[in-house]
Symmetry: C2
Subunit: 218 residues, 2 copies
C-alpha cells in the first residue's frame, strides 16, 4: 500500500475535477458541445489558468479555437476519477444526514453507489429507507462482505463515531468519509477523510467577521 | 471591502483552528488541563510541526514543558474565530440536510446561531421545526432584516439554488455556505463557500481506486 502523498494528481485537483465534471454534465444536458476554459473557470469562481493547469496535469489537451469538447472532456475525467467496476458505499447512521446523503447522491454517479445503510434504531433497521436496505450495526461485517462494500460514510451521532473504527477495520472497508465532529484515525491502508460541517461554517463566519472589521477601519 | 486573499491567516489554518478547538473543548470537558502539540496533532492525523506552525501564526506561545494550557488555548482561538457579537444564521431548505445541520450545529457555538429557516413546502412553513421558526421564501428579505441574519446556508434542492442568489444579495447577507451541486457566484462583498458533498465522496473513491491499482502492481 502506498500513502496518498505518492499520487501524482494533487487532492485539490481531484476535488476540482469532480466539480468540473458536474458542471460539464449539466452543460451536456443543455446541449452545449464546447466550452472555453474561462467559462468553466467562471462557473467555479476560479481562474482559467487554474482550469488549464488541472487539465494539463491529467494530460488533457484540446482544440482551443472552439474550446474543450464537453463530451470528450467528461469521458476523460470519468477515466481518471471512476474505477472500472462500480464501487459500493454504505451509510452508517440513517438519521437526517444519512437520508440527505442518500437522496442527494444516488442515481447521480454510475460508478459509485450507496447500496446499504446501518443504524441501531429499531424503527429504522430491518426495512428499506428510500430504496436502501437498512441493517442493524450488529450485521455490519457480514453485510459489508456480502454486498462487497468498499466505502463507508459515517453520519452517526458524534458520540458513537469512535466505536465504529474497529468494525470498519474488521470489515475490510477501504475508504471512510466521516461527517461527525470526532476526528477518527485509521490505519494507513484505509483512505479516511474527516469532514465536519461545523468547520466550514466557522470558516465562513470568520471571513465575514474579518471583512466587517476591515470595512469598519476603512 | 477587501478580498479574502488579503487576510493574514490562511484558510486552511482557519479550518484547523476550528478543528483544534473542538478537540480542545472535548479535552476540557474530560478534565484535561494541558496538551502537547504532538497529542493534539495525533488527534487530527497531522504533524506536531503543523500544529505549532498554526499556533505561531496566530501568535500563541506556551510553556512547552507541560504542553499547551487547554483552557487558555480555547480562549485564544475563540478570540481569533468568534466575532464579538452573536452571528445569526439562516437555513434555506429545511429538508433532511437542513434539519441535519440544525440539529447538529445548534447549541454548540455560543457566537454562531441558527435562528431561522426557509422553505417553500406548505407542510414546513409557518411553524417551528426543531425549535427553529420556518418561513416561506417569500418572506426572506423581511425576516433576514428583522432577525439580523448575516449568514445563509443553502440546503435546498440543487435545481432551486441558482434562483436564491438574487434574494440573498438583496437581503444583505454577508456569508453563504452552499451545500448544493450548483456552484454559485456572488459579488466580491459576499463570502461564499460552495460545498458539495459529492466532491469529497468522489475524492475518497478516487484514492481508494488508486491504492487498489498500486496494490495490484506491487
Amino acid at each position: 500500500m502506498s500513502s496518498v502523498t505518492n499520487h501524482n494528481i494533487p487532492e485539490k485537483t481531484i476535488e476540482r475535477l469532480s466539480e468540473y465534471r458536474r458542471s460539464l454534465l449539466s452543460c451536456h444536458k443543455q446541449g452545449i458541445t464546447h466550452i472555453f476554459s474561462h467559462v468553466l473557470a467562471g462557473m467555479h469562481g476560479i481562474t482559467a489558468v487554474q482550469v488549464r493547469r488541472d487539465l494539463m496535469l491529467i494530460g488533457f489537451s484540446s482544440d482551443t479555437k472552439k474550446g474543450y469538447d464537453v463530451k470528450v472532456l467528461i469521458d476523460f475525467i470519468n477515466n481518471i476519477l471512476d474505477s472500472e467496476n462500480v464501487m459500493n458505499v454504505a451509510i452508517i447512521g440513517m438519521g437526517h444526514l444519512g437520508q440527505a446523503i442518500t437522496n442527494y447522491f444516488n442515481g447521480k454517479r454510475r460508478k459509485l453507489r450507496i447500496v446499504t445503510a446501518f443504524d441501531v434504531d429499531p424503527a429504522k433497521t430491518g426495512r428499506e429507507i428510500d430504496g436502501i436496505p437498512c441493517y442493524h450495526m450488529d450485521e455490519f461485517e457480514s453485510v459489508v462482505e456480502q454486498m462487497d462494500v468498499s466505502i463507508a460514510i459515517i453520519s452517526s451521532p458524534t458520540r458513537v463515531a469512535p466505536s465504529l473504527v474497529v468494525p470498519i477495520i474488521n470489515a475490510g472497508i477501504k475508504g471512510v468519509l466521516n461527517f461527525t465532529s470526532a476526528p477518527l484515525n485509521f490505519p494507513q491502508g484505509i483512505v479516511a477523510e474527516n469532514y465536519d460541517m461545523t468547520t466550514i461554517l466557522e470558516k465562513v463566519a470568520y471571513f465575514v467577521k474579518e471583512r466587517d472589521e476591515v470595512g469598519e477601519k476603512n
